[in-house]
């Protein structure tokens, strides 16, 4: 039983936290709590710890877990090592390349150079689609990986490009040749990946506006989102017109929500139709076959001041709430969805963080809509008045609805480092950590274990199933 609780607690933390500053806690505390949880899990429940890689923990924690598993493998049985190896290899394929290269560099720094580590790095690097592109774009990380794992890609040109001597001209690989020419020709640099071209542009003193204008096509969609330059065209993303070099599993729904919330209110109002349409399309895409199957759903969404997040995770909790709103709209039976925002405002597109958190009152409002399911998206800082939400849920569960007709689940985008878990509303209602709204369906699935209705064997069976699905064995 303890094991099940610990696993869920770890999954909550590893899903919600990215080791960055939160509204009320600094980065140091978050990192320290996470480091403790990782070590605790690794030492006590190594098998379960490895299995959490299949549960959709966030990239930051996946990288931390891989680093831990690889650096501490003494006295681990062969079979366990084998399954770990497959899990790690699979996870590396889902991580964005910059994070993988950062992991390689970290392993190099830590001096972790066992046979398994080398094999994993080698397999990942040799299976890259376009090694030359990665070598140009992530040069130092690519080099670190090759050096650390003694990988020979068997491509003399690429070896020369990375390790010298830089005397070849011309290169036969197009991107390497472009890179060589970019040193001399101001027009060629626009054919390079955005981050590399940026360096050349700075060297040539090209004005930022001109550069962004011309580099447009070379930017990955994520880079476009970040530079704030080109407005997002969700339609192009869905139809696959926009180019992305990494994996396909990008949480676009949440990303777009973050982007929308970064716009001034006037712009959001002016582009209402386009933005709403984009969100609805992504939501339907995510809901997929489950669309319309959840019946009557009521959402309690937190747009209190604390949903601002922090300067490094700007409006993240609010963005999760916004994305969840659209996702639930798609999941609920048509016309059976009621959103209740904490502030009482009812225009999701114009949401902004302000005001207190009257969770208890909103939960009462939600219960009054007689739903089949209530989803609460909140950081759990119930302060108006404090603790009322817990009391309302307790009385509801013990006196008014002991049979559990209404399914209530609380998803929390903020990890509470001090409590080593996400803040729960009540012991009677499961609280799970969330990072991207897209994970909602799986998290609701996982939440049934948190409630203790389902026992440990079922949890193990569920984990096994998830691991098998993750490894593509089914």
């Amino acid at each position: 039983m303890v094991a099940a609780e610990d696993v869920l607690l770890f999954v909550n933390a590893a899903t919600a936290s990215t080791g960055q500053r939160e509204f009320s806690e600094d980065a140091g505390r978050q990192t320290m709590s996470l480091a403790f949880l990782h070590e605790y899990m690794r030492v006590n429940y190594r098998e379960l710890y490895a299995a959490t890689l299949a549960l959709g923990i966030n990239d930051h924690n996946a990288a931390l877990a891989i680093r831990g598993l690889l650096s501490d493998a003494r006295d681990v049985p062969i079979e366990q090592k084998a399954i770990e190896g497959r899990l790690i290899a699979r996870t590396l394929l889902t991580l964005p390349p910059p994070r993988v290269f950062r992991l390689f560099k970290a392993l190099q720094r830590d001096g972790v150079n066992n046979r398994r580590t080398r094999a994993i790095i080698r397999d990942w690097m040799t299976s890259l689609d376009n090694p030359a592109y990665h070598a140009v774009k992530y040069r130092s990380g690519f080099k670190a990986g090759l050096k650390h794992a003694h990988v020979d890609l068997g491509d003399g040109e690429l070896r020369d490009f990375l390790f010298g001597p830089l005397q070849r001209k011309p290169y036969t690989t197009p991107i390497l040749e472009t890179w060589r020419q970019a040193h001399y020709d101001g027009n060629v640099l626009y054919k390079l990946p955005y981050t590399v071209a940026e360096g050349f542009a700075a060297k040539r003193g090209i004005k930022r506006e001109v550069f962004l204008e011309r580099i447009g096509k070379q930017m990955t969609p994520l880079e476009k989102l970040r530079t704030d330059r080109e407005p997002v065209d969700p339609l192009a993303l869905i139809s696959g017109k926009a180019k992305y070099c990494g994996t396909d599993q990008i949480p676009w729904l949440t990303r777009l929500a973050v982007r929308i919330l970064a716009m001034p209110l006037d712009e959001r109002a002016a582009r209402r139709a386009e933005l709403t349409d984009g969100m609805r399309r992504f939501a339907r895409w995510e809901a997929d076959q489950l669309a319309g199957t959840w019946g009557r759903v009521t959402a309690v969404l937190d747009d209190s001041f604390s949903s601002f997040g922090s300067p490094v995770k700007r409006r993240r909790p609010l963005a999760v709430a916004l994305a969840t709103h659209f996702l639930l709209e798609a999941l609920a039976a048509p016309g059976q969805y009621t959103p209740l925002w904490m502030s009482g405002r009812d225009d999701p597109l114009l949401a902004y963080p302000s005001g207190a958190t009257p969770l208890g009152t909103r939960l009462l409002d939600a219960l009054e809509t007689t739903p089949a399911r209530i989803v609460v998206v909140s950081d759990g800082w119930d302060n108006s008045p404090p603790g009322l939400a817990g009391e309302v849920l307790r009385v509801w569960r013990t006196r008014l609805d002991p049979a559990g007709r209404v399914d209530i689940v609380h998803v929390n985008p903020v990890f509470d480092a001090e409590g080593l878990d996400v803040r729960a509303l009540s012991p009677l209602v499961p609280s799970v950590g969330i990072r991207d709204a897209e994970d909602l369906v799986l998290l609701v699935e996982l939440a049934q274990f948190a409630q203790g209705r389902v026992g440990v064997p079922e949890l193990m069976a569920y984990l096994d199933g998830r691991v098998r699905r993750f490894l593509g064995e089914d």
């Binding site: 005001g355 207190a356 108006s384 008045p385 404090p386 009391e391 009385v395 006196r399």
Partner: protein, 374 residues
């Protein structure tokens, strides 16, 4: 005068470490009065306020408030711009920049005045019986007979020095319609702050870190363990429907408000204060008030803008430290007995020698004559 928080409701508290903030909410903003802020200097510097031809007040004054009245909800086009310097600057002989303000309250236009928040109240406390004895009894020194109590000096802590106050204000979630806050350190009332309009509050909320705080508050914030939240607790007996559950939940807020107003803020609200009018703004009066200085109890000085009925539109208080209360108490005691030492001693059932000791211990040694004239 009594502090009458009519129109202000108590909201649920939020705590952070040893600090607790209790919001005060208005259903309707006070009409016809708005407050703005003027920042005087980014870096700390001394300011001098000329109170009269001979008296001046020196302190660190980071900002001032501007009150507008009789406007249609405070027309934005005429508001004070942030960072405007409204007074002359001159350099002190020591080369330290000093800012000179002409008065505590100064007229800026037909319907606006600027005042220096809390300094107005503290000045009232400092100038308490500032002139010294009215009758030249022989127990008083020549100096106090000639110059009064000048110079009088008191110290307080800047809000930024109070542990975690900045964080507490940062993570505090401002309520809809919030017009004020009561700040507690280890559940001892540190300061009360109220303004006429929610938007004013939003603007002035961060200025609490630039306020004065007494010794006690500084110590409590530094050393006391985190305060407990007053969590809601429902008795589930007899709840059979959602409507009953809602009624029980709503009763929680009322219970908290009542408990707070009578128990936690009782010492501020249930006392009589001596008030003094400083400035008249249309139908509003800027007043400062002082307590009856009872040693061993909570004593707040402060300033307020009240309307014709005595309801508070603006309020700011400062909790005196124990030593400050004693000083106020002794001065009031002496003044009440026409500065006759023996009469004052008799009134509190002690000897003149003992009272002398107390005066000395309170820091007023210079007002006593060392050797009485024969």
């Amino acid at each position: 005068m009594r502090i009458d928080l009519a129109g202000l409701r108590t909201g649920p508290s939020q705590s952070w470490g040893a600090l607790r903030l209790v919001p005060l909410l208005r259903d309707r903003p006070v009409e016809g009065l708005r407050l703005h802020r003027i920042a005087y200097a980014e870096e700390p510097r001394w300011s001098e306020v000329r109170l009269g031809p001979k008296v001046s007040y020196h302190s660190y004054i980071p900002h001032g408030f501007v009150a507008d009245w009789n406007r249609d909800n405070g027309d934005a086009s005429q508001s004070a711009a942030f960072g405007t310097q409204l007074v002359d600057q001159r350099t002190d002989v020591h080369g330290m920049p000093i800012q000179v303000h002409r008065r505590m309250t100064q007229k800026l236009g037909k319907r606006r005045a600027r005042f220096l928040p809390l300094h107005f109240a503290i000045e009232g406390y400092l100038t308490l019986h500032f002139g010294g004895p009215d009758i030249a009894w022989r127990e008083w020194s020549d100096r106090v007979l000639r110059h009064g109590l000048s110079p009088r000096m008191e110290a307080s802590y800047l809000g930024t020095a109070v542990t975690e106050l900045q964080d507490a204000l940062k993570v505090f979630e401002i309520h809809e319609g919030q017009c004020g806050v009561l700040l507690y350190a280890a559940d001892a009332l540190a300061a009360a702050f109220a303004v006429p309009h929610p938007e004013d509050y939003r603007e002035l909320h961060p200025t609490l870190v630039l306020d004065h705080f007494g010794e006690l508050i500084y110590q409590y914030a530094l050393m006391m363990p985190p305060v407990r939240e007053f969590r809601a607790s429902l008795t589930d007996e007899g709840i059979t429907s959602l409507a009953e559950l809602r009624a029980a939940a709503e009763a929680q807020s009322e219970r908290w408000a009542e408990f707070h107003d009578h128990v936690m803020a009782g010492a501020l609200l249930d006392r009589d204060y001596t008030s003094e009018r400083g400035y008249q703004m249309g139908e509003f009066d800027l007043v400062r008030f002082r307590p009856s200085f009872k040693p061993g109890e909570e004593n707040h000085i402060g300033e307020a803008i009240v309307d014709g009925d005595g309801a508070i539109a603006y309020l700011k208080t400062f909790r005196l430290s124990e030593a400050q209360i004693r000083r106020g108490y002794l001065l009031e005691l002496l003044a009440a007995h026409n500065w006759r030492l023996s009469a004052a001693a008799k009134a509190i059932g002690t000897t003149p020698e003992d009272l002398r000791g107390r005066i000395r211990a309170a820091g007023f040694e210079t007002i006593l004559r060392q050797k009485e004239k024969p």
